[in-house]
Subunit: 456 residues, 2 copies
C-alpha cells in the first residue's frame, strides 16, 4: 500500500490566494445598489467591510499575497491532509481512485477558518474593534470566534433562534473562544424588533440574522460585518485548499479527472475547485468540477440566473446569481450549510458559461453514503460533506460499470460531531426526502419581477 | 518562528510497542484470583481475552511487533502531530517551551483507538465473532466501535445509564460504526437484573457495566471482552504516542525536562511517558513524568497501595494498585475518564518506586486552564486533558518565577467536542470543586481488609 495520507510541511502552505476573476472568460456582472439598482462602488461597502477586503472583492490580480500573521495562524492546522480512500474504494468495489482533502482538522472542524482568519486580520489592521456576523448551524460562527480570539477582536454572533435552542453546544464553543452569542431575532435591533412584533415565537432565519448583524455594524464605525461565504474574497481565501491539493496530488503521482464538493454559498466548492479550473481555463485541461446541492434547495439545477438579494430583508447589494428567490424557504433538512437560496456570483457565472457542473441529491442518499464512508474510512462527516460523498459513489459506480479507472477528488469539508442528531434521525427512520414542486419556485421568483433583468 | 507542527510521515510510525516491564527495577506483583486469592494463570483469562493479548499482558520482551494490518489502520490518523504551543507560551509569559502531542485527530477524537485497533485485530485473528465492552462517557466505546468496524467484528457496548441518557450522540456515533449500544443496567444479564431489582431507577455505574459486559462474554466462546485502560497490554499499545514524540522532539531539537499527562486508569499517561521513562531507567536521564488526577478521585495522592478489585462486583482479578477502594463513588465531576477508583498496576508500581510523580488538581483550575489554552491554541480540549494543561501552567509559572527555561511536553489526549456541557457549566458558574474528606477514604478502604496485604 502506498501512503494513506499525503502530508505537506508548513513550508508548503501556499503563500498566495488564487483569484479566479483574472482567468474567467466572462467577468461577473457588477453588484447593484438595492435602492438605486446602479452598480455599487467601494464606498457603498465601506460601512460593512475593511478596505482591503473590498479591494480583494473586485481585484483582477491573479494571485494575492497571504499576510505573514495569517500564515502563522493557518499553521495551527494547515496544511491539511489529503487522504487516499483505499478502504472506501474497496468497499465500493470500484476501479476508481478516490482522494479526499480533510478540512475537519481545523479548530472549528470545517473549512470556514480559512477565510475567518484573514477577515479578522484585515479588520484588526484597519482599527476595527468588533465584528458582527450571523450563523445558522454554527460552523461559521465558530470559525469567526476562533479567528477573532486570535487577533484580539470582539465578536457578536446572531445565531438563528431554532439552532440556538437546538444546538446549545455550538454556543458554548463560541463562548469558549470569547464571542457573545445572541438568539436571533433579538430585541435590540430594529429588524429583530419588527420580526418579534410580527411573530413573538418566530424560529428566526438566516436572512433575518444577517439583517440584525448588518444593522448592528453600520451603527458604529468601530464595528464591521463579516460574511462566511458567497462573496468573491471569501471564495478566494478558500483556494488555499485546492492549491494544497495540487501539490499533494503531484506527490501521490495522480491528477484528478473529477473534483467534487458540496455547494451552499459556494466557498467550499470554490476552495477546492478553482485552482483546478485554472488548468482548464489556461492549459486546455478538462477536469470536471461538480458542485453538489441538496435536492430540497436546488438553486443551481432548478433556479434562475438573475439579480437577487443576498438576504431576506434586502439590505445587501443585488447579485447576479442562480437563485430560488430570497424568500425561498428550504425544507428543514439537515445540511444547514446548504440551505441558502442563492449561489455565489463567481460559481453562478462559471455554471452559466458551462465551465462547471451541478448535481442535486436527496438527503437520504447522502446519509446512506456518509455511513458507508464512516464505516470504511473512520470519519463521520458533516451532512454537507455527505452530499459530496454521495456524488463520489455515483462516479465510482459509473467507473465500475464502464470498467475503467478514474481519479476522483473531493472536499471533506468538515466532521459531523455536531450533527449527530441528523445521523440519529437517519438511523431511526425519521429522515425523509423533500420533493420540490415547480409551484414553489415560480411563486418565489415572481417576487423578483422588479429587479433588473440580465441580458441573455 | 520555527515550525508550529512537527509532523512525521507514515514511514516514521513506530513498528513496535514498548513494554516497560522489561526495564522496571521492581516487577509488578502478580494479579490474584478473586476467589482463591492465588496468582492467576493464562487459562484464567482465556474466557475473556484472546491468547495473544494474554501473552502480551505478562510478556517481559522489551519490544513487541505491531502487525501489518494494525499499522494499516493506524495510518488513518497516525502519526499524530506534535505541536509547539507558541501562542500559549506567549499568553503565559513563560520562558518555558511547551509542546503538546495531539491525539484528538483520531476517528474517535482521543488516544483510545491506539489500543482498540490491535485488540479488535487479535480477536479477529483468533476467530472471535463479537466483542463486549463497557463505556462511561463514551470515548472508549467509540474507539472500539471504530476498530471493530474496521475488522468486521460485532460489538455490544454497555453504556452507563446516566451517560446513555445525557449523551445520546455518543450512542449515535457508535451506531454509525455499526455497534449495538445498551443502557446499563440491562434486563438481560444477571448483574443487570439484580441491580434493577435493587433499584429500578439506578443511574448505573462503570463497575456494573463491566460486570454486564464480562457476563455476556463468558457465556459464549465466540464472544470476548475488551477493556480500554488499566491492563498491561493496553498501556503498552499506547506507547506508540511517546515513541513518536521522541522522534518529533529530535526534529524540534529539544528534549523534555518534564512529561505531563492525566491519569484515569493509566493508559494515557503510560502512552506518552513510558518511552521517556526508558531514558531514566536505562540511560541515567532524569526526565520528570507527572501524572495528574482529579482532586475528587485522588488514588495516586491519597489512595493506598494494595490489592483491590477492578470492578464493583469483584469479577476481575485482584490487582496490586493505588486505590480508593472499589466501592469509592467519585463526585459527579466532568472528567468522566478520570473517575476510576484505581490506577493501573504498572503506573502504581512506578509511583511506589519513586520513578514517577503525581499531582491532584481541582476541576475549576482545570477548566480555567482549558479555556486559556483554547483561546491561545484554538483547540477545545477534553476535560481529562485540561488536567494536564493545569499542571503545565503550574510548571510554566514556576519556570517564570525562577527565570529559567525548561521544556514541557504534555499529552493532549482528546478534543472536547462531546464535553461542551462541562464548559457550559463552567461559564455559567455551575461547576464546583469537590473536597474529599479523609472519612470517605477510610470507609472504602476498610472493605478491603480481607484482601491479601502487600509486604512493605
Amino acid at each position: 500500500m502506498k501512503y494513506k495520507k499525503i502530508l505537506l510541511t508548513e513550508n508548503d502552505i501556499p503563500r498566495q490566494w488564487y483569484n479566479i476573476q483574472a482567468d474567467m472568460p466572462n467577468k461577473p456582472l457588477p453588484p447593484l445598489h438595492p435602492g438605486t439598482k446602479q452598480p455599487i462602488g467601494p464606498q457603498d461597502l465601506a460601512p460593512l467591510f475593511p478596505m482591503e477586503l473590498i479591494k480583494q472583492e473586485v481585484s483582477q490580480e491573479r494571485y494575492i499575497d497571504i499576510p505573514e500573521a495569517v500564515m502563522d495562524v493557518y499553521k495551527i492546522w494547515r496544511p491539511t491532509p489529503l487522504m487516499r480512500a483505499y478502504n472506501f474504494e474497496k468497499a465500493l468495489g470500484t476501479p476508481a481512485k478516490i482522494y479526499y482533502k480533510y478540512e475537519g482538522v481545523s479548530p472549528a472542524g470545517s473549512h470556514k477558518p480559512n477565510t475567518a482568519v484573514p477577515q479578522a486580520y484585515y479588520n484588526k489592521m484597519e482599527g476595527v474593534r468588533k465584528l458582527t456576523t450571523e450563523t445558522g448551524a454554527g460552523q461559521w460562527g465558530t470559525a469567526l470566534s476562533f479567528a477573532c480570539c486570535q487577533f484580539g477582536l470582539e465578536l457578536e454572533v446572531f445565531m438563528v433562534k431554532v439552532s440556538f435552542d437546538q444546538k446549545p453546544y455550538r454556543k458554548v464553543i463560541m463562548n469558549t473562544f470569547g464571542a457573545k452569542v445572541f438568539s436571533s431575532p433579538t430585541d435590540f435591533t430594529k429588524a429583530g424588533q419588527d420580526a418579534l412584533k410580527k411573530d413573538p415565537d418566530t424560529p428566526g432565519s438566516l436572512g433575518l440574522a444577517i439583517s440584525e448583524a448588518i444593522e448592528r455594524a453600520v451603527q458604529d464605525p468601530d464595528i464591521k460585518y463579516s460574511l462566511g461565504s458567497v462573496l468573491n474574497h471569501v471564495l478566494m481565501h478558500q483556494t488555499i485548499i485546492g492549491q494544497e491539493c495540487i501539490k499533494q496530488m503531484e506527490i501521490a503521482g495522480d491528477f484528478p479527472d473529477v473534483v467534487i464538493a458540496p455547494l451552499g454559498g459556494g466557498s467550499n466548492f470554490a476552495g477546492i475547485s478553482f485552482p483546478f479550473l485554472r488548468y482548464n481555463l489556461k492549459e486546455g485541461k478538462n477536469i470536471r468540477c461538480v458542485a453538489v446541492e441538496p435536492a430540497s434547495c436546488p438553486k443551481l439545477t432548478k433556479g434562475e440566473f438573475r439579480y437577487d438579494s443576498g438576504d431576506t430583508a434586502c439590505y445587501t447589494p443585488l447579485l447576479p446569481m442562480y437563485t430560488l428567490g430570497h424568500n425561498f424557504m428550504p425544507a428543514a433538512m439537515h445540511a444547514g450549510g446548504l440551505r441558502y437560496h442563492g449561489a455565489s456570483v463567481l460559481c453562478s457565472q462559471l455554471l452559466r458559461d458551462g465551465l462547471i457542473e451541478a448535481r442535486a441529491i436527496q438527503q437520504l442518499e447522502c446519509f446512506h453514503a456518509g455511513v458507508r464512508f464512516a464505516q470504511s474510512e473512520g470519519i463521520v462527516a458533516a451532512p454537507e460533506a455527505n452530499h459530496a460523498i454521495a456524488q463520489v459513489i455515483r462516479e465510482a459506480d459509473q467507473a465500475k460499470k464502464e470498467g475503467k479507472s478514474k481519479v476522483i477528488l473531493f472536499n471533506l469539508c468538515g466532521h459531523g460531531f455536531f450533527d449527530l442528531k441528523a445521523y440519529q434521525d437517519y438511523f431511526e427512520g425519521k429522515m425523509v426526502d423533500h420533493e420540490l414542486t415547480q409551484t414553489d419556485l415560480k411563486a418565489n421568483l415572481k417576487e423578483l419581477a422588479d429587479y433588473p433583468a440580465i441580458p441573455v
